[in-house]
Amino acid sequence: MTSGGTAAAAQASRKGAKKPGKSVMGTRPWIAGAFLLPALLLLGALVVYPIGYSVWRSLFDAPGSGFVGLDNYAELFSDDRIRTALKNNIIWVVVAPTVATALGLIFAVLTERVRWGTAFKLVVFMPMAISMLAAGIIFRLVYEQDPERGVANAVWVSVHDTFAEPAPYPGANPRPNSDLKATGGGAFTTKAAAKTGTAVSLPLVAVQPGDLKGAQRAVAAEPRPGQITGTAWLDFTRGGGGTPNRIDKQEKALAGLKIEAVKDGKVVATATTDADGTYALPAHAEGAHLRLPASNFAEAYNGVDWLGPALVTPAIIGSYVWMWAGFAMVLIAAGLASVPRELLEAARVDGANEWQVFRRVTVPLLAPVLVVVLVTLMINVLKIFDLVYIIAPGASQDEANVLALQLYQSSFGTDVNQGIGSAIAVFLLLLVLPVMIVNLRRLRKERQR
């Protein structure tokens, strides 16, 4: 829980914490004992004893009666679900702290001594105050699949549609019994080869009403010598009464439809229909088949499935970075404030540009702070639970699995095996052991000063 040991120890050594004083009272040991008793009792019963119990319990099977040695630990690396959890934990530990720290560094540098920098910092730091449950609910809304509702997909789709124009008539297809036949991949091609001087009509149906907003009445194209002409229109009269394959009154033109003239599998000419639905192809398209490529009818782009199996872990990491970049920023900003300005100035006088000063002087001077931030975040991420539990929908919870979630499931959830649960707990403890040792070393060094 208290992953802040490193930051705390670093802070203490910076301040050069005083050696504790000799008792001013000449206290009798039993008084000291009385002061310490509540703390030691609680720590002993609820922290120290459980460590021992977990180690012992991890050597037994699910019911807790059969001794299995290290089998539970072997299981951590052979069980598929736990291996997914391990793999995800590695991704988490590598990516989340790095991104959060990098953003924190950028924000801290950019807001340093800028007048309204404080307001910015407050905004970025604020998510630290709220629960991971609330953050989880917030990001369930953000990652909503439907672009009409989830802001992430709304932005993504509008960016996508800026670069790739959406299809004009998604879902439309040719009037049955017309000359157009599906030729695979969603395209439609005329059976007959087109001749110049004739008009080739392209009747379509199943156009969505919304795609016809402002459409003109369709006009029959005049045959023109030396050209292939024709009309694309919605061959459907509202209320009935129209004749199939004929442009009846009231029938609407399909503007902006792409048409390709294909000869021997090669596109020799292209055209786009006008506002009245007519098009014209040049003479060298003689003998070609007219194809309406699939891009005319592609379904609207619906964005990314953020919480689907493929992206669920990166998506949740995104929400974590949102919560913790502020933490990195605040610690780094404090470190930045103590960087001696003269050093930076000396580098500038020596002709270094701003980037070089940042890269070669500022960052190395900040290195101790950056390490503290990274390690603190790593310990924190190792135990990530709430965000994954809340954000990952049931369908992709297995893909999003992490050790702490698996531990919960193994201990109290769906697949109860407290032997495995204990083994995961001990494994997590082993992973933070190096930090514990560093903390203790630092403390001892302080004592010897």
Binding site: L42, Y49, R113, A129, A134, L382, L429, L443
Partner: protein, 294 residues
């Protein structure tokens, strides 16, 4: 001469100030405003969603209120007030958070003072043990403490949750307060002793008041930690009368259908932490700096 003065002035500028000076401040300002809006957007989305009718939420994105402000309604919050389960859970959260915070402060102060100013055999070793426990993950204790609490009748009780939070808050509390108390000038304590103060009186009248800033940081941190906790409450709290995080978590399974409870509920659960955060920013930040990151 001018060059030196120039250098001195420039030396006081930060990189940000230099970028601002070079670009006329515009580019940097626009960038920071954009990032700030980006960071606010998820929270604003929740807030607006909590102020819309569930039917509208199912239909369209929260940004639609910018063209249709008439969609805003307090009915979600009105319904929440009538939702006994959520209201009770807020009360349970308070019943867990306040004692867990007070206990950590009191017990941590007692031990911190003993480690800082009392002589007893093995003092340094005991303190090393406490510092060693700083990074122990709560996960290690879940199964054993569940068994232990089961045996003594504390499982699924508020008292059990309070004790668990207190125990895991203690290593940091003792570490922080011992370091802070050790900085108290010896003369102050000696003067009090000459006046005939007992050890307990010294603690309550001199040490605790002087430790105010550290105690405030610790208290705020512990408060936010316990208020925001879900995992420990999920396991140890009474599932029939859970704190707010667990009550909301039970609704998450059917996210779309329960958005009318989830959105306002999540926002209400955030109000107290946000108020604490804005009111005690300074203490919160110094708590973070001291490493109280759990």
């Amino acid at each position: 001469m001018t060059a030196v003065a120039d250098g001195a002035v420039r030396a006081r500028q930060s990189l940000a100030a230099r970028i601002a000076a070079r670009t006329g401040g515009g580019a940097l300002r626009v960038f920071l405003i954009l990032v700030g809006l980006f960071w606010l957007m998820p929270t604003v989305g929740l807030l607006i969603s909590s102020l819309r009718d569930p039917a509208d939420v199912a239909e369209s994105g929260w940004w639609e209120v910018f063209v249709k402000p008439a969609q805003l309604t307090w009915s979600g919050y009105g319904n929440l007030l009538g939702n006994a389960k959520i209201m009770d859970s807020l009360w349970t959260t308070a019943l867990i958070t306040v004692p867990a915070t007070v206990l950590v402060v009191v017990i941590g102060s007692l031990a911190g003072y003993a480690f800082a100013w009392m002589d007893f055999p093995g003092r340094d070793t005991w303190f090393m043990v406490v510092v060693g426990l700083l990074v122990v993950p709560v996960q290690v204790a879940l199964i054993p403490v569940a068994k232990l609490f089961g045996a003594v009748g504390l499982f699924e009780t508020t008292a059990g949750v309070v004790l668990f939070h207190t125990a895991f808050g203690l290593p940091f509390a003792v570490f922080l307060l011992r370091n802070f108390f050790a900085e108290i000038p010896r003369e102050l304590l000696e003067a009090a002793r000459l006046d005939g103060a007992s050890e307990l009186r010294l603690f309550t009248r001199v040490v605790m008041p002087l430790g105010g800033p550290a105690i405030a940081s610790l208290g705020i941190f512990q408060f936010l930690w316990v208020w925001n906790d879900m995992l420990i409450a999920l396991i140890f709290a009474d599932s029939g009368n859970p704190p707010i995080t667990v009550a909301l978590q039970q609704e998450v399974r059917q996210f779309g259908n329960n958005i009318d409870v989830l959105a306002p509920g999540a926002f209400v659960s955030m109000i107290i932490p946000l108020v604490v955060f804005f009111a005690f920013q300074r203490q919160f930040v110094s708590g973070v700096m001291a490493g109280a990151v759990k």
